[in-house]
């Protein structure tokens, strides 16, 4: 064997490894280091003692209850509606299917804000209405509770299950059910013995996604819980970092809690990969077939009404509330035309520096983070998918990391890394949010670009080489044009969530680097409910416009192909 020279492939591998180490691996390592190492020596006992503090223990317990409750509830609702739109003769199925995906678009912390306005124990509009109507002493609902948080999170997370299960139900080979029917099984038996077991992997995959998301989620529990002293892991980390003015013990508690988040996320992802690779998916084919449809008969219209009411309550009501409150002259006034004005919106958009800055910050941060992350993701995916060199396993291992790091953890990690510890201090600048976004959204970029690259067969590139193209020319003329749709998808998959992001930036913002999410959150904290709602309304408009844009771009892509 000739000794291999250090070529382009090796250089790209090294660069990819370096980027992932700096952006993801070191921040995570620093978290574990800070959590378990005291004065240069590992000290697990003291670390564990920190967890036994009553408020930390309480946060852990709440996290478990909320994540568990949200997962169970989302799974029940998601499976039920998925079955309704794909396996029954529900009227307007197609429209309903689209409508059930709308909650995905709404940032859940904006939903939480709306529900707080509607259902907070004393001031909530619906509670007041009910108390007046029935002359009650006590409010009927209390959204600012564990149950309330679970309910609100479920409203916006159940589509994870819905998408997985309705997709699998539609792709399932109907002959499997027909065979059972011919063998004499009734519909109930078929559902219980055939359909449900076959759907189990999809149901589990969706449920695990909900659990993962709920565990790491900041917005809803921050808005509905913090005021009532209900903390979960991410909000506790936030409180520790902010309220205790960054003292050492507080940061250590934060890193301990972060370590727990990382480990649970890794565990969830591991279970998910086991479920998905168990091979039970094989009965589900790629092509669409005509599934067996249950006739609802008399229940047809009542179930449609139930679905419509569900959408109305979870989507329309909060959205309308946000827009209406955003027009009020002062919070607390009745919704009458003379109390309403559009001045709030012009004030927020053009006059008030804080909100104007926030909108601008969110725009350029998500735009640049999306562009940069997409490009880095393409580079790393290229090395992972297309090259055969030694040392690739290292990159493969590092490439999994971004998937298992929750937003709060990323934020804490970049604080530890970029606050002067290594000679670079980005604290309170937009740069620290920028590096955090790259780490947080790297997983999206890797997923979408590696999928695109896997579809570009090696022979396409080799054919160009044989035609006389150099490696770089082949890349430019053949590989890049073919993976462009995947790169565009990656860009939007990062840009849109980053635009409305709260969990990461809330730990990183400085006086001049608020994002839209942070501005809405802090305005609400400061009691500026009307402005918070108005800014939220503007955010919703931007999000809807963005979604429409993606639809147009991706549809144009499909037509030209």
């Amino acid at each position: 064997m000739r000794p291999r020279r250090f070529g382009t492939a090796e250089l790209l591998l090294l660069l990819s490894i370096l980027i992932l180490v700096v952006v993801v691996a070191i921040p995570i390592l620093l978290i574990f280091w800070n959590a378990f190492v005291v004065e240069g020596k590992p000290d697990f006992l003291r670390a564990l003692a920190l967890l036994k503090e009553p408020d930390t223990l309480e946060a852990l317990k709440n996290s478990l209850v909320i994540a568990g409750g949200t997962t169970v509830l989302s799974t029940i609702i998601g499976v039920f509606f998925a079955w309704l739109v794909s396996r029954t003769d529900l009227p307007y199925k197609g429209t309903m299917k689209v409508l059930f995906l709308v909650p995905f678009m709404l940032p859940s912390f904006i939903g939480a804000l709306a529900w707080k306005i509607l259902l907070s124990p004393r001031g909530g509009h619906i509670n007041r209405l009910l108390m007046d109507l029935f002359h009650l002493e006590d409010p009927v609902f209390n959204i600012m509770s564990l149950g309330g948080i679970i309910a609100v999170e479920t409203m916006y997370l159940f589509p994870f299950v819905f998408i997985q299960v309705s997709g699998a139900l539609e792709r399932m080979d109907p002959t499997l059910e027909e065979a059972a029917r011919i063998s004499g099984a009734g519909l109930f038996t078929i559902t219980r013995r055939i359909t449900l077991p076959l759907m189990m992997p999809s149901i589990l995959a969706g449920a695990l996604l909900v659990a993962l998301y709920s565990l790491a989620h900041f917005g809803v529990p921050a808005i509905l819980g913090t005021e009532r002293n209900i903390f979960i892991i991410p909000t506790k980390i936030y409180e520790k970092i902010y309220a205790s003015g960054g003292n050492f013990e507080a940061i250590r508690t934060g890193t301990m809690l972060s370590s727990i988040l990382v480990l649970s996320a890794a565990a969830i992802l591991y279970v998910q990969s086991l479920v998905l690779s168990s091979g039970r998916f094989q009965v589900i084919s790629g092509k669409s077939m005509r599934p067996m449809v249950l006739k609802l008969r008399g229940l047809k219209w009542p179930l449609l009404i139930l679905s419509v009411v569900y959408i109305a309550i979870t989507v329309v009501l909060p959205t309308v509330t946000i827009f209406l409150v955003g027009t009020l002259k002062t919070y607390g006034l009745a919704f009458k035309l003379e109390n309403m004005t559009l001045d709030n919106f012009t004030y927020i958009l053009f006059k008030w520096e804080l909100t104007r800055d926030a909108i601008w910050n969110s725009f350029y941060l998500s735009l640049s983070a999306a562009a940069v992350t997409m490009l880095i993701g393409t580079l790393i995916s290229y090395v992972l998918v297309k090259t055969k060199i030694r040392g690739k396993f290292l990159l493969e291992f590092l490439g999994v990391l971004p998937f298992s790091v929750p937003g709060t953890v990323i934020a804490l990690g970049v604080i530890l890394m970029w606050s002067g510890r290594f000679g670079v201090n980005l604290y309170n600048t937009a740069w620290i949010i920028f590096v955090a976004y790259i780490a947080r959204y790297m997983a999206f970029a890797l997923k979408s670009t590696s999928a695109a690259l896997e579809q570009v067969h090696d022979s396409l590139e080799e054919a160009a080489r044989a035609c006389g193209a150099t490696k770089w020319q082949a890349m430019k003329d053949v590989v890049l044009p073919l993976i462009k749709p995947g790169m565009v998808a990656a860009f939007f998959l990062i840009f849109l969530p980053a635009l409305r992001e709260l969990t990461t930036s809330v730990l990183l913002y400085g006086p001049h680097t608020r994002t839209i999410g942070v501005a809405i959150y802090t305005l609400n904290e400061d009691g500026e409910t009307v402005y918070a709602a108005a800014l939220a309304a503007i955010a919703l408009v931007i999000i809807v416009l963005g979604q429409l844009l993606i639809k147009r771009v991706t549809r144009a892509k499909i037509e030209s192909a």
Partner: protein, 358 residues
Amino acid sequence: MGRVSVEGVTKAYGPKRVLQDLSLAVEDGECFTLLGPSGCGKTVLLRLVAGFETPDAGEITIGGRLVSGRGTNVPPEARNLGVVFQDYAVWPHLTVRANTAYPLKFRADDAPQRAAAVQSVLDQVGLGALGERYPSQLSGGQQQRVALARALVAHPEVLLLDEPLSNLDANLREEMRFEIKDLQRHHGATILYVTHDQEVALALSDRIGILDQAGRLRQVGTPREIFDQPADLEVFRFLGVTSFVDLAFDGDQARIAGTSLDLRPEGPRPNIGALVGGFRPMEAELVKDGGVPGIVKRVALLGAVVDFRVEVGSRELRIQQETSEVMRGLGLPVEGQRCGVRFHRLRTFAAAALSGEA
């Protein structure tokens, strides 16, 4: 000049040796086919010649220029080759014309010259009118023609084809076979063709090289030599259906064990161990009287020919005869009927080689 020579090439992937000290030469303007079962390393050899892989040891020269070995490794783009891949590898984002024109991008020709060259080669492969189509709008055969046109447009010295016909249906395959032959005559390029399809190899090649499962070259020769005088049992068995009978020798005379009929088989007669006689289905016939006695086990009328399975001794033989001949002679036999078998030709091989294979 497009002579390709491979000398002492070895290639391994991890612990798996794919090619071991392989040498062969493809003469200028020749169509040379490497024929072998799947997994025998023939595609690896092609990729080594193309420059997509580097040999662990040995040398490769193209047109007298060293391209691999002795510390040299010329990248694929500098080897002046045309390659046609098994999966066509036509670029889906470019039109037929743009696909075909791509190799010219790296030449000094001016635009009108280029356009003329592209149109001419598209006309040759019968796609002259489809230049503005995208590959997704073409059939498999048409996509294969685009790949051919792209490989030919820059008039490479050497054309490498990796099973280019195996994804086509039978009729198209036959048609393309003739077309490739015609194109080669027209362009005069040296062709290295890799396939496991013996029919294509025999029809297309000036010479054929047979590779075995272990990546060793068993025989090199013209299609006629390979088919008529197979060097060993493996080559013989690789080219189509074969059957064997056990032979007993008495001086020059041989007879099939347990029968009295004398035969004169061809081929070397190693005097170690038992020998078998091999033949192809058309090299024997069923007769009413005389011949080696056997029992008809299966009769299948395939149209122009009848396919028999006949039991002789402990072995089952495949025999094919023209239908009209069968009808004129003994008539279509029924299964289980006794019959005689007459051999037109038998080649001797060591029985050990046969049982070793089975």
